[in-house]
């Protein structure tokens, strides 16, 4: 057992876990943040994507101990109170989900894509960069539309700040 100290959605936490605990298990089983999903458990589907120090990583492919000292943001941490994050709002408005299982990972990856590319985002880039996130319902069409829509909204909200 080890104590892992990290910041999750802005709150400092210390959690006693077995050394073999994965970051996603710490989030879901110890902190009850079940918005982050486990899909394939083989690093391919991206349902478990969270942000570690601002970068989108697969939380099923990290030991909790590797995140010691890091700042983690999960899907539960991106809205401002009742106001959805622009990416969440764009997924809702563009019908970017059906069953919703992949959605938390899609949204966390998509925010990272927008941060990396800013205004340079086009459809081909979004499709290529989403290759680490698998959706079995939508055929990706509306997901891609949502990400492009959100990229515009995020630019506007950044400019306003």
């Amino acid at each position: 057992m080890s104590t892992v100290k990290l910041t999750v959605n802005g709150k400092a936490v210390a959690v006693d876990v077995e050394d073999r605990t994965l970051l996603v298990q710490l989030l879901r089983d110890h902190l009850n943040l079940t918005g982050t999903h486990v899909g394939c458990d083989t690093s391919q589907c991206g349902a478990c994507v969270v942000h570690m120090d601002g970068r989108a990583v697969k939380s099923c492919t990290m030991l909790a101990g590797q995140a010691d000292g890091a700042s983690i943001t999960t899907i539960e941490g991106i809205a401002k109170g009742d106001e959805l994050h622009p990416m969440q709002a764009a997924f809702r408005d563009n019908h970017g989900l059906q069953c919703g299982y992949c959605t938390p990972g899609m949204i966390m990856s998509a925010i990272d894509i927008v941060h990396r590319h800013g205004g340079q985002l086009d459809e081909a880039t979004v499709r290529t960069e989403l290759e680490g996130n698998i959706c079995r319902c939508t055929g990706y069409h509306n997901i891609v539309k949502a990400v492009l829509d959100a990229a515009g909204r995020m630019k506007v909200s950044q400019a306003a700040e």
Partner: protein
């Protein structure tokens, strides 16, 4: 995953000392292979020694005609590094088609070559460019380093610290990506050194892991152009065959990927 004990090393020396005190330890770099393998219970190290926070294993340096990438550098940092893009753009390109964005934030060059997966991308770059692998004990040429499937010259407790690449006159890398795993179904790295030597390495093709392709090297030495490879015949003998492609299919891919790599080389 079986029980294990996690250690975070703050220096190479500390990592080596932790390794010596454990019965069945494994070094953990980015963990993008080791952790999935542990989750499948195909590996059960008693101790996992995390190299991810060791500062001396981080960084990229271009000095004269040598590009040195420290072993713990993540793919994303290699892909976006100005010196890499300037000196060996083929390496920046290789990194951009390796895994997916989330994997590229965690995976490292040292982890990739230490694992020496027969379909990994970086072994082809090292072999084609004639790179040198630096460890905490010695320097090893790429030829001597890669010794077959998942096998390298590394001894127990030896840690890769950096890879040094001679800057080539031209180089290119192209691969047929497996759409799910994003490993190379076959990938070919072509390089023309500053002294005029041509070196070609293929990954994902051979049953013995990364390999040089002398027939294509000879054709390109005579005429550096994609069409020079038209007449080359690659034997399917000793090539990988699986549900994704026969040995004959991969033999053809070696040619086609080499042609594309030459066309893309700069």
């Amino acid at each position: 995953m079986y029980q294990t004990t996690y250690h975070r090393a703050s220096s190479v020396d500390e990592a080596v000392s932790l390794f010596g005190k454990s019965s069945e330890a494994k070094f953990l770099a980015g963990g993008q292979t080791l952790l999935p393998v542990m989750k499948q219970r195909l590996a059960s190290p008693s101790d996992v020694i995390d190299l991810g926070k060791i500062k001396e294993l981080q960084g990229i340096e271009l000095s004269g005609d040598t590009l040195t990438i420290k072993a713990g550098t993540i793919y994303y940092d290699i892909m976006t590094n100005a010196d890499v893009k300037k000196a060996i753009p083929a390496i920046a390109h290789l990194t951009s088609v390796l895994g997916d964005p989330a994997v590229r934030y965690r995976g490292t060059i040292g982890g990739s070559i230490a694992n020496n997966d027969p379909a990994a991308d970086f072994p082809a770059a090292l072999l084609a460019l004639g790179a040198t692998v630096k460890t905490n004990k010695r320097s090893i040429s790429a030829e001597d380093f890669f010794q077959g499937l998942f096998t390298t010259a590394l001894e127990d407790g030896e840690i890769i610290t950096a890879v040094s690449f001679p800057v080539p006159a031209k180089a290119g890398y192209e691969k047929m990506r497996h759409p799910a795993s994003r490993f190379a179904l076959t990938g070919v790295f072509v390089a023309q050194t500053k002294s005029g030597e041509v070196r070609v390495a293929a990954t994902g093709a051979s049953q013995s892991g990364v390999m040089r392709v002398p027939a294509i090297e000879a054709a390109l030495k005579a005429n550096w152009s994609p069409s020079a490879i038209d007449g080359v015949s690659i034997s399917a003998s000793g090539l990988l065959a699986d549900i994704h492609g026969t040995a004959e299919y991969r033999a053809n891919l070696v040619k086609v990927m080499a042609q594309r790599a030459v066309a893309a080389a700069r």
